[in-house]
Symmetry: C2
Subunit: 347 residues, 2 copies
C-alpha cells in the first residue's frame, strides 16, 4: 500500500460521490432516509478512498467513546485477564480503552481521573478492588459526570450508588470448604486471612459457614494471616506446620498463588500432595497449573466478569438514564483437579 499523503475526510468522499457531505455522514451512521442507490455509491467511494470517520471529531460532537480501567493490584494475571475482557467487549462495541494503573493513593487517582473526565477523554470508569470499595471515590467520579461500574466481592450490591458486578466470595468459600469437608477432612487450614482484604474476608466467612453447616468446629490455630503472594504462601505454610504438631489434613489457600507457595513448601517438608495433605486454591489463575499436581480450585471467570462490566458501562454511557438496577452477580465454580483427595485416616 502506498504512503498516504493526507487522511481523507467526509468531504472528500462527498466530492467523489457527488453528494453533500451530510449525506455521507448519514451513510456512515447508518441513518434511515438514504436511498439505496446513493447509499451504495457512497459506500463504494468510502472503500475507494479508505475513509475512516475521525473518531476525535465525532467524540467532540457527541460523547466520549472511551472508558478507563483503573487498577491497583499487584497480581499481573488478574489485571491482564480483566483488561483483556474489557477490551474484548469494547472492541465489539467500537469503544476504546484507556488504562490507568495507580499506586493506591486514592486521592490522586480521583484527581487524575477527574482530569480525564473533565477533559472529555473518557465517559466511564471501571473500578476493581480495592479501589472499588472506596465509596468516596465513586461518589466523586459520579459527580464529575462519569459513568461508574464497580467490581466487588459480595453476594449482592452494597448500595445504589452505581451498578456493581459482584462476585460471591462467601458462597464460593463455602463451596470449596464443603467439598473438602465432604471428602472427609476435619482439620482444614485457611491460608491468607487478611481483614483489610474484602475477598479474603468473604472467603473466610464462607469457610466458617461451611463448617457451621456440618457442625464441624474450626481450630483458630489453622487460620493464618498473610499476603496473596507465593512467598507469603510458603511462609504461612511453614508457620502452619511448625505450630500444629497435629497436622491439618487439608489447606484452603485464599488464592492460587498462595496455594502454589504452599505446595512448594509442603514438598520441601517431604509431604506428598494430596496423599499427605490436600491443598486447594482459588481463582483458577495460571498459578493453578504451575504446580504438581495441578490445583483443585475455584474457577473465577475474570474475563467474563470484566467483559460484563464493560458492557454495563457502555450501556450507561449510551443510554442517558441511570440504570441503577443493572448490577449482576457471578459465582465461581468448583474446579476439581488433582491436589485434593480424601484424608489418609478416612481411607
Amino acid at each position: 500500500m502506498a504512503p498516504i499523503t493526507k487522511k481523507p475526510t467526509i468531504k472528500d468522499v462527498a466530492k467523489l460521490a457527488g453528494v453533500s457531505f451530510k449525506t455521507v455522514s448519514r451513510v456512515v451512521n447508518n441513518e434511515a432516509s438514504v436511498s439505496d442507490a446513493v447509499r451504495d455509491k457512497v459506500n463504494e467511494c468510502i472503500n475507494k478512498l479508505n475513509y475512516r470517520p475521525n473518531h476525535t471529531a465525532r467524540t467532540m460532537r457527541k460523547a466520549p467513546f472511551s472508558l478507563a480501567f483503573v487498577y491497583d493490584n499487584p497480581n499481573s494475571n488478574y489485571v491482564i485477564q480483566m483488561q483483556n475482557g474489557i477490551i474484548s467487549q469494547c472492541r465489539k462495541q467500537g469503544f476504546e480503552l484507556v488504562i490507568r494503573p495507580t499506586d493506591s493513593k486514592a486521592e490522586d487517582v480521583g484527581k487524575e481521573l477527574a482530569a480525564m473526565i473533565g477533559s472529555n477523554q473518557i465517559g466511564g470508569v471501571i473500578l476493581t478492588p480495592p479501589l472499588s470499595e472506596n465509596r468516596a471515590l465513586v461518589t466523586f467520579l459520579l459527580n464529575q459526570g462519569a459513568k461508574v461500574v464497580r467490581i466487588l466481592s459480595g453476594s449482592e450490591p452494597p448500595d445504589d450508588l452505581a451498578p456493581v458486578i459482584y462476585v460471591d466470595d462467601i458462597a464460593a468459600g463455602d463451596d470449596i470448604t464443603a467439598y473438602l469437608l465432604q471428602l472427609g477432612h476435619r482439620r482444614i487450614a485457611f491460608l491468607g486471612h487478611n481483614p483489610a482484604h474484602e475477598s479474603s474476608r468473604g472467603r473466610l466467612q464462607g469457610y466458617q459457614q461451611a463448617h457451621d453447616k456440618q457442625g464441624v468446629s474450626v481450630d483458630k490455630n489453622l487460620i493464618i494471616e498473610g499476603e496473596f503472594t507465593f512467598e507469603s504462601g510458603m511462609k504461612m505454610t511453614q508457620t502452619l506446620l511448625e505450630n500444629n504438631p497435629q497436622r491439618p489434613t487439608a489447606i484452603f489457600a485464599c488464592n492460587d498463588e498462595i496455594a502454589a507457595g504452599a505446595v512448594f513448601m509442603a514438598r520441601l517438608q517431604n509431604l506428598r500432595i494430596p496423599e499427605d495433605i490436600s491443598i486447594v486454591g482459588f481463582e483458577n489463575s495460571p498459578f493453578s497449573v504451575q504446580t504438581l499436581p495441578h490445583l483443585t480450585t475455584m474457577d473465577q471467570p475474570n474475563f467474563d466478569i470484566a467483559a460484563s462490566a464493560a458492557a454495563l458501562v457502555i450501556s450507561l454511557m449510551q443510554e442517558q438514564k441511570e440504570m441503577k438496577t443493572s448490577s449482576k452477580g457471578f459465582n465461581p465454580k468448583l474446579l476439581i483437579r488433582d491436589s485434593a483427595t480424601q484424608p489418609a485416616t478416612s481411607k
Copy 2:
C-alpha cells in the same frame, strides 16, 4: 464536591476573568506574551471553575495525543511491566495510552491499527516481539502515517525502517554463561531453545559464545527445546535429567518461569539447589523470587525499556522529522542471588 451541571469551557473562564477566550488559551498553553497580572487572574479563574482543556478538541486542532501498545504475549508479568513503563512516561508528557492485545494474526492487527490511525485516535505505536519482528507490519503502519517504535532483541537496530529499542540478548546470554563457567561449571544445560523465538536464539548464541571464549565445548544433549513456561520448564528438566546420566552441574534457563519450573522439578528429584545443581534464570521477573532459593538471573529492565520506547514515540510524534537515528540499546545485568554456586567437584 457538588455535582457538576456542565463542564466549563474556555469561554466560561474568559467571561469570568473578563478577557477574551484566546487569552485564556494562551495561558493554558503557557505561551509567552501574556502579562503576569492577566496570567494570574486567568489561572485563578481556571482553578475556581475547575476548568480542564478539552482533550478532544485539542486533538482535533493539533495532532493525536495518544499512542497504542500492541502486545501478543502470554507472559502477564512482561506485559504489565511494559505497560506500566509506557504509561508512566505517557503521564509525564500528558499523553494517553490505548491498549491493543491481539491474537498474533498479524494481518488483522494491521487492519485494526490502521483503522485507529486513520480515525486519528492514535499517532504512534509501540510494538513488542514477536509483532515487532514483522517488517511488513511496520512498513504498513508507517505508510498509514503513524510513528512506530519497535522493541527488539539484538545488539543493534536491524534496519532503518523505524527506531528500535533493542535488548542485547547475545551479550546477556554470554554474561550469565560466563559467570557459570567462571564458577567452575563445565556441563551447563540450556533450557528453552526455540528457533522461532528471537530472544531464545540470542541467548543461546551468547551461551555458545561464552563457551567458545573459554575453549569449553558444548554438549548438544544439554540443549533442550521448549516453551517459555513453568510447565515446560518442569518437563525440560525431567527430560534433561533422564537423558543425561552424567548430570549437568548447572542449568541456564531461558527465562525465570522456566527456571522456576526447573527448580521445582529438581526438588522433586531430590536435588538440592544450588549444592547439587545450580540454576539460573533470565529477566528478573516475579518468578525469580517465587522459588527457594531465589534465582540468580539477568535483570532486564522492562519498565525502563518501555518508558524509553514511549519517550521515543512521543518525541517522534512531536517533532515532525523522522529521527531514524534515535534507537537505543539496553543491556541486562547479572543479578546474583542464591541459586548458583560452585559445582561440587571443584569445591
